[in-house]
């Protein structure tokens, strides 16, 4: 039986070898080995190019600023959500999760809608919109990671400090903050990683001056058809990501000795004006940062000329006259749903196999578990570039790229499936199986009565999450999707790049539909409440 379990690791490993290791190898080979000048010349060329150096520099500090802003908003929100009990708290918790799974281009479109509607001389493209959009996304990472620990922390030490005469702020500083430090640092590293490798948001909101490494990779590969430079940029990117992940690994090994409480025990009802002000402040922050862009997106998608109408939505089933999209936007939506469904199915099969194999504990199986996390640490654009390099010819080229898009999306969604299912599978108490066995269940029947129902709930959550990721995937898809069958995120990005109110309206209407679809899926899945989606 154990051998059977280990065999389940073979599929995921093969998939990974063909769609990740091989393409990444092509990128590394092209980026590290120069055609004429010898090894490392492409990287050296990239690092000495002033424009590309500027992009690398911009990537670094926009990520740093984004991380700071995200922490500044996320920590107070986490404090309120994990220490205070108020009506609607669970709803707010669920709502905070939604932005994290919204497609990047939708968030870009939302900020285009918001900043375009603001009067006066606000920056509509460039650094500030990018940082705001990054914070919009990643506040949920901080809330889930820091709040996830915080709500289980024993409040007694902080209360003891108060008893000794400390002010609330000082009690927090001496008794609570030190215990949260590791979680905050881990959240910061994850946010830094996400914003460092951010692509869709920067592409939409960056404008002419603000380009990150990701955008430069895309530009080099698709506009200048300079795959060597694109590959060299990917190598630089990978090195930076690897360094960040090393820091993250160290942080994760620390900590974890904290004595934890049941969440309910640590929360208290609102008692004072200060409590109510804290809740109002946190909700206000979320309303401005996350509510306003989404509201602007919806409202402006309904704005036609000086009035309100559904004209932008009605126009979605008409083919566009421009050469940018070969199909009607609604067709792109059907296309997207079909591709994402296929990607979800692939990711589920691979992720469940890998999780079941890894829970068995054999070495090969643990390898599969670890290896499946690698695409998570590799930027989507690098993955897309690798797929483009590898499958320009062969069965997955040309018409075959219909298969390549769901495979690329599955590559990105599978780690999330494993991360959702594996802890649940590992968490099943052996005594549950033993108790059922004594009742008369054969080992096969034990799996049907115990493992299957528990894992299928987790699988449902994983499927929803995988679908949301796949349907909104942009960075890798944009490299492999053909103009004849674009996905919605690709269509939105193209439309946002075109002048005119009609194109903007069309982009916004499509964004609203896509946001509604992903948001709905995630909220439904959150109701199943298995583990915590989006916690790292």
């Amino acid at each position: 039986m154990r051998r059977g379990r280990t065999a389940l690791a073979v599929g995921p490993l093969l998939f990974l070898a063909v769609l990740f290791v091989w393409p990444l190898g092509r990128v590394l080979a092209l980026g590290l080995v120069g055609a004429e000048g010898g090894p490392l010349t492409p990287v050296a060329a990239v690092l000495t190019d002033p424009a590309l150096r500027a992009a690398a520099w911009f990537t670094l500090w926009q990520a740093a600023l984004s991380t700071l802003l995200t922490l500044a908003v996320g920590i107070p929100v986490a404090a309120v959500l994990s220490r205070l009990e108020f009506r609607g708290r669970r709803g707010v918790e669920a709502a905070v999760l939604v932005p994290f799974v919204l497609p990047t281009v939708v968030v870009g479109a939302a900020f285009v809608a918001l900043l375009g509607a603001l009067p006066g001389d606000v920056p509509r493209r460039g650094l500030v919109p990018i940082i705001l959009a990054h914070a919009f996304f990643n506040v949920s990472v901080v809330v889930r990671t820091v709040g996830g620990l915080w709500q289980h922390l024993d409040p007694a030490p902080a209360l003891a400090a108060r008893g000794l005469g400390a002010t609330p702020l000082r009690a927090f500083a001496v008794a609570t903050l030190p215990r949260l430090r590791t979680a905050i640092a881990a959240a910061a590293v994850v946010v830094f990683l996400f914003t460092f490798t951010s692509f869709g948001v920067v592409l939409v909101l960056g404008g002419s001056g603000a380009a990150t490494i990701e955008v430069e990779i895309h530009r080099a590969a698709t506009r200048f058809l300079d795959l060597r430079t694109a590959a060299a940029l990917s190598v630089v990117q990978l090195a930076a990501v690897a360094a960040t992940l090393a820091v993250y690994g160290r942080l994760r090994r620390r900590g974890g000795t904290e004595r934890l409480r049941r969440a309910a025990a640590a929360r208290r009802p609102l008692r004072s004006t200060a409590d109510r002000a804290a809740v109002a402040g946190a909700l206000g922050l979320l309303a401005v940062l996350q509510g306003a862009p989404l509201a602007a997106l919806v409202l402006r998608s309904l704005r036609v000329g000086d009035g309100w109408s559904l004209a932008h939505y009605r126009r979605l089933d008409a083919p566009t006259r421009e050469a940018v999209l070969a199909v009607a936007p609604l067709e792109a939506l059907a296309n997207s749903v079909a591709i994402a469904t296929a990607a979800t199915a692939i990711a589920l099969v691979l992720g469940l196999s890998a999780a079941v194999a890894a829970a068995g504990g054999a070495r090969l199986a643990r390898l599969a578990d670890g290896a499946l996390m690698l695409p998570l640490g590799t930027s989507a654009v690098t993955l897309g570039l690798g797929l483009l390099l590898t499958f320009r010819s062969g069965p997955l080229a040309g018409r075959g790229s219909v298969l390549l898009v769901p495979l690329a999306q599955a590559l990105i969604a599978t780690p999330f499936v494993v991360r959702t299912v594996l802890p649940v599978l590992r968490g099943i108490d052996d005594r549950l199986r033993e108790a059922v066995a004594t009742l008369g269940a054969t080992p096969r029947r034990v799996r049907r009565e115990v493992d299957l129902p528990i894992v299928s709930r987790a699988g449902l959550v994983a499927a929803g999450f995988a679908f949301a990721i796949a349907v909104g995937e942009f960075g890798a898809t944009v490299f492999v999707a053909r103009a004849s069958n674009p996905t919605v995120p690709v269509a939105i990005e193209r439309a946002l790049g075109l002048p005119g109110a009609v194109n903007l309206g069309r982009a916004l209407a499509l964004s609203v539909l896509l946001a509604a679809l992903t948001g709905l899926v995630v909220l439904l899945v959150d109701r199943v409440r298995v583990g915590a989606v989006g916690r790292f």
Binding site: A437, T438, G440, E449
Partner: protein, 363 residues
């Protein structure tokens, strides 16, 4: 109903956690398997249930050798401390699982579930999700689930260990009639003497992987099999003695009559429950020992008197009210000579001490 013969078991390549245990349980009988953490109690239970294969020895269930019978065909009911209820099934779903696995028709399953739930007093909770129940209710469901398959043998692994004392006593009191009515034998694993005393027809004392005594509670507490059992149960003072011609000399000059004991070094047990203070119903022929009151403490519904006997060995006595003498005052202790127990003096001190500290994978 159950007979265990020479059972030895261990984990991986480690030493034997159980070293040759013999045990028997009759139908309708409750045997408490009592021992400290790491003594091998749970390992014994797992071997009997079929969750673990013994290294040596046999498990005989209902007269047939069951050593190689897989767990699902042994017909034993198992109740864990942490309930181990299926979270995705309601109360009736959990209780009905066993009958369904045994191929009963839906109507029979429903009737069985209703009957068993009524027995444990939970008929009104049949359609509740199990995580909506209190700890005590969950444990009742776990018991009902085990009883629903009409097991030949009920195995209870510290079933009420996580519950508070009053609730635990109530559940234990309910348990005994249920076992009697089911006609199954029951083994209750516990490290708590009060639990064992509350339910057991016989107590099996397991120390360091060996069964040291299997007897009625009165026997274990007044005539422990050896010094380790006496110490573990805390039944009284153990006085080092030298036996000559039917009399033991303790503390240099006190002589206690022990007609049946062989000559040589021995330990004399003074069972605390049988020790009287001079003036408390003195009888002719009592053995008499001098002692000193070294402490007196109020303990709720009684007082605990600590007295030092020979060689500084202390003995704790429960009395309804404190003595009207000061700490340090001399006392006379009296005991019926027939209640004195001579135990062999261990040549190696505390033979089981190392085994007791050995790590045990399950507890």
């Amino acid at each position: 109903m159950l007979r265990v013969e020479g059972l030895a078991a261990g984990y991986g390549t480690g030493p034997d956690v159980l070293a040759g245990v013999d045990l028997d349980v009759a139908a309708g009988e409750v045997v408490a398997l009592l021992g400290p953490s790491g003594s091998g109690k749970s390992t014994l239970l797992r071997c009997v249930a079929g969750l673990q294969a013994p290294r040596r020895g046999r498990v005989v269930l209902g007269g047939a050798d069951a050593t190689d019978v897989p767990v699902e065909r042994r017909g034993v009911g198992l109740v864990f401390q942490d309930h181990a209820l299926l979270p995705h099934r309601d109360v009736a779903g959990n209780v009905g699982l066993g009958p369904r696995l045994h191929g009963l028709a839906p109507a029979e399953v429903a009737a069985r579930v209703a009957a068993v739930l009524a027995d444990v007093g939970l008929a009104h909770l049949a359609d509740r999700p199990v995580d909506a129940l209190s700890g005590g209710e969950q444990q009742r469901v776990a018991l009902a689930r085990a009883l629903a398959v009409r097991p030949r043998l009920l195995l209870l692994d510290e079933p009420y260990g996580s519950l508070d004392r009053p609730l635990r006593e109530r559940l234990l009191a309910e348990l005994v009639p249920l076992v009697r009515a089911s006609g199954a034998g029951a083994v209750l694993v516990t490290h708590d003497q009060d639990d064992a005393l509350a339910v057991a027809d016989r107590v099996a004392v397991l120390l360091g992987g060996r069964l040291r005594q299997l007897a009625a509670p009165e026997v274990c507490w007044t005539r422990p099999a050896d010094a380790d059992v006496a110490r573990f149960l805390g039944v009284g003072a153990l006085l080092p003695a030298e036996v000559r011609a039917g009399a033991a000399t303790v503390g240099g000059d006190v002589r206690l009559p022990l007609p049946a004991a062989p000559d040589g070094p021995a330990l004399v047990l003074l069972p605390a429950a049988r020790v009287r203070l001079a003036g408390e119903a003195d009888r002719a022929g009592d053995a008499v020992l001098p002692a000193v009151l070294v402490g007196s403490r109020f303990a709720g519904d009684h007082h605990v008197l600590t007295v030092a006997v020979a060689d500084g060995v202390e003995l704790r006595l429960r009395r309804p009210r404190p003595l009207d003498v000061a700490v340090g005052a001399p006392l006379g202790l009296r005991i019926d000579a027939a209640d004195l127990v001579a135990l062999p003096a261990p040549d190696a001190p505390m033979e089981d001490a190392s085994a007791r500290d050995a790590p045990a994978p399950t507890q």
